[in-house]
Symmetry: C2
Subunit: 395 residues, 2 copies
Amino acid sequence: MQFNFKNPTQIIFGAGMLAQLGEVAGRYGKHALVVTGGGSVKRNGTFDRAIESLKAAGVSVTECSGVEPNPRLSTVVRGAQIAKDENCDVVIAIGGGSTMDAAKAMAAMVYYEDEPWNMFFSSEGTFVPPTRALPVITVPTLAATGSEMNSGAVITNEETKEKSFVNVPILFPKAAIVDPELTVTVPADQTAYGVCDLITHVTEGYFNGVDGTPLQDRWAEGVIQTAMEWGPKAVADGNDLEARTQVQWASVAALNGWVQIGTKAGYPVHMIEHTLSAHHDVAHAAGLAVVNPSWMRFAAKQRPERFAQFAERVFGVQRNGGGAEEAAREGIDRFEEFLRSIGCPTHLSELGIGEELIERYADDTLRIINDGNGNLPGRPTMTKDDIVNVLRAAL
Amino acid sequence: MQFNFKNPTQIIFGAGMLAQLGEVAGRYGKHALVVTGGGSVKRNGTFDRAIESLKAAGVSVTECSGVEPNPRLSTVVRGAQIAKDENCDVVIAIGGGSTMDAAKAMAAMVYYEDEPWNMFFSSEGTFVPPTRALPVITVPTLAATGSEMNSGAVITNEETKEKSFVNVPILFPKAAIVDPELTVTVPADQTAYGVCDLITHVTEGYFNGVDGTPLQDRWAEGVIQTAMEWGPKAVADGNDLEARTQVQWASVAALNGWVQIGTKAGYPVHMIEHTLSAHHDVAHAAGLAVVNPSWMRFAAKQRPERFAQFAERVFGVQRNGGGAEEAAREGIDRFEEFLRSIGCPTHLSELGIGEELIERYADDTLRIINDGNGNLPGRPTMTKDDIVNVLRAAL
C-alpha cells in the first residue's frame, strides 16, 4: 500500500450552517460568482438565504444560473467568461453535483489558455491539466456526488457527446458548507439516486482497488451500511432531518478520498455510465443503479471471494457450506433488491435505453479512458465485448 | 451532528518513502532542525538515510537529539532555542510520538512570547494558545500516536509533574512521511503498546462521543478490527512488513481526526493515564492498557447498550437472550484478553504503581481538565471518587 494524499478542504457540517457562508466566503474574496442549477434553490429559499449571508459579510454577487444536469462544456465556458467580465475573485456553487462540478471547472477555466475541452481527461493525448483556479466554496443541496469536498469535476462535451473528468489538487474547494437542512426538499427519487450514487462511489474502490487495504475495506463497508440504514428513511420521509444528516455525511465521506486512499481504484461503472448519460438525458445515479449490479455479476466471476466478503460483511450472508460464488451471487442480488426497494431502476429499459447504440457506448467509453491496450481499467479490465455484454445483461 | 474540520497535512505513505524527505522538506525550508529521541534512529540507520536525503535536496541540518519518552517542557524550550540560534526555517521530527510532539511544540515555541507552560491546556486559566509555528514535517518510526498527521502535542512539566496538551491548527504538520520500513526494528513490547495506543484513540471517541454518529462508529470499529487482525502479526514477527504497514496506517487513521469527526469526544482514559506517566516513568500506552478496561467497566454501567454494540460488532459477541449488560461485560473481557495476548499489562502493579498516590493522580487529572464543576469530561463525567475507583479497580 502506497499513497500520497492531501485533502485541504475545510468542511463545515450541520443543520443551519448555511448562515456561515458569508463569513467563510469573505475570507477568500469580495465579489463572488454564484453558480446555481435549474432554479430549485430559488424556489425553496436557499438562494435568498445564501445571498443574505454573503451581503451581510460584504461579499457582492454575480449570478451564473442554469447549470444543467450532466453539465455542459459550453456552460463552463459561459460561467468562466462571466467571472472574467465581472472580475469575480471567488466562485460559490449552490446546488447538486452538476452545479458544483461546473463551478469548479469554471474556476479553473478563468485562467485556462488551452482549448476548453483539453481540460478534461482523454486517452487521445489532448489532456492539458489546469494549473490555477479561483477559490471555490461549495454548498451542496443534494447528498450524492461528494463533489463538495474533492478535486474532481465531470463535464459533458455536448458537441461530441463525450463525458469526461478532471481531477487535480487546485480544484479542491477551500470550504464546503454542508447543511442537511438544504436537502429536505429533495424529492424521493432524487434522494434514492443520491444514495445509489454514494454507494457506487465506494463499491468502485472496494471492487476495483489494489489488494491489501483492509482498513479501507472496513470503511467502505461502513459507508454502505450507513447509507443502507439511513437512506430508506430519507426516501420515506424527506423531512427526517436525522436521516438527511446521516445520508449527507455518508455522501461526503464516500468520495472525499478517505475511503479510497491507497486503493488506486478504477471506476469502470462510472466510466460506462458516463457514456450513457452523455447520450441520453438520464440521471447519472439512475444509470449507475442499472450498470453496477450487472457489472458486479461480470466481475464476481473473476473474484468471487471479494464479492463473498461484501455479501458477508454488508448483508450478513452466511455461506452455510456453499462456495464463495454462491455467497457472492446472493450479495449482489441483495444489493440489487436494495436499489429497487428505494425506487432505483435496474434495467436500461426503465431509462428508455435500448440496444441500438450499445457498441457506440463501449467505443465512447474506451475513447475517454483505456489502459493503452484498448481495455477499460478495473478489476478485471474490460474489453469492448465485456462492456457490451454488461450493458446487454442490463437491458 | 455538527462539525468544522480541516486536516491539511499531506501524507506520503509506503515502504521506502523516507527517500522523499529531502524533496518534501525543501519545499518548506533550507535549514532544518532535525529532532530525534534516544538514539535508536541513529543505531538503525534511519537518521543517516534521512540526512542523506536532506543534503541531496540542499537542506542543511541542525540537530536536536535526546527527546525523552513523555517529552519535557525543558526539552521543548531547549529545541526552540536551538532553532532560533541557528535560524532554522523548518522542523523535522524523526521518531515516535514523543519526538513528534516535542518537535511540534518547539516549532511553535520559537515564536511564543508567553511563559512556556502557558502554551499547554489548563483548567486554571493560564492557557494562551500559540498563533504561529515553523513548518513541521514528521517521520514516524513507531506506529502508535498518530501525532504525525494531527495538530496535537502532549508535553510534561517535569517541575510540577503535570502532563498537558496543546491542539491548534497551526500545529498540523505540512507533511507526514510514513514509511513502515522504519518500524520493523521496533521491539515487540513497544509494538504492542502502539497497537493499544491506536485502539485507545478510537475507543475514546467511540465511548465518549455524542450520539448520532453511526458512520464514525463503523469507522472506529474498522480501525479496531484492523489493529486486532494485524497487530498480533506485527508483534509476533517484527519483520512482517505487511503487518507493519497495516498497523501503521491504522495508527495514523486512528487519530488524524477522520474517525472522531463530529463526535466531540472526551478523552478521560488519556487524561487519567497522562497523570500516571507524569508521575512515573511508564510508557503511555502501557498506562492506557491498564486504565482503559477498568474505565470501560465503570462506563458500561451507565451505557450498557453502547458497550454491547462494541462487543457485538468488534468481537462478534452474541446476546443469546442475555441482556446488554452481559454482552458489554463479555466484550470488555475479550478486549482485555486481547491486550494481554499481545503482551500489554492490565494492572497498575505490573507498572510498579501502588495505591499510595491514587488521590493525587485524580486531583492532578482534574487540575489539567475539568468541566467547570470539578468533574472529568466524558460519558459519564467522572468525579474525583470515580477516578480513584477506576484506578483502584486496576491495581
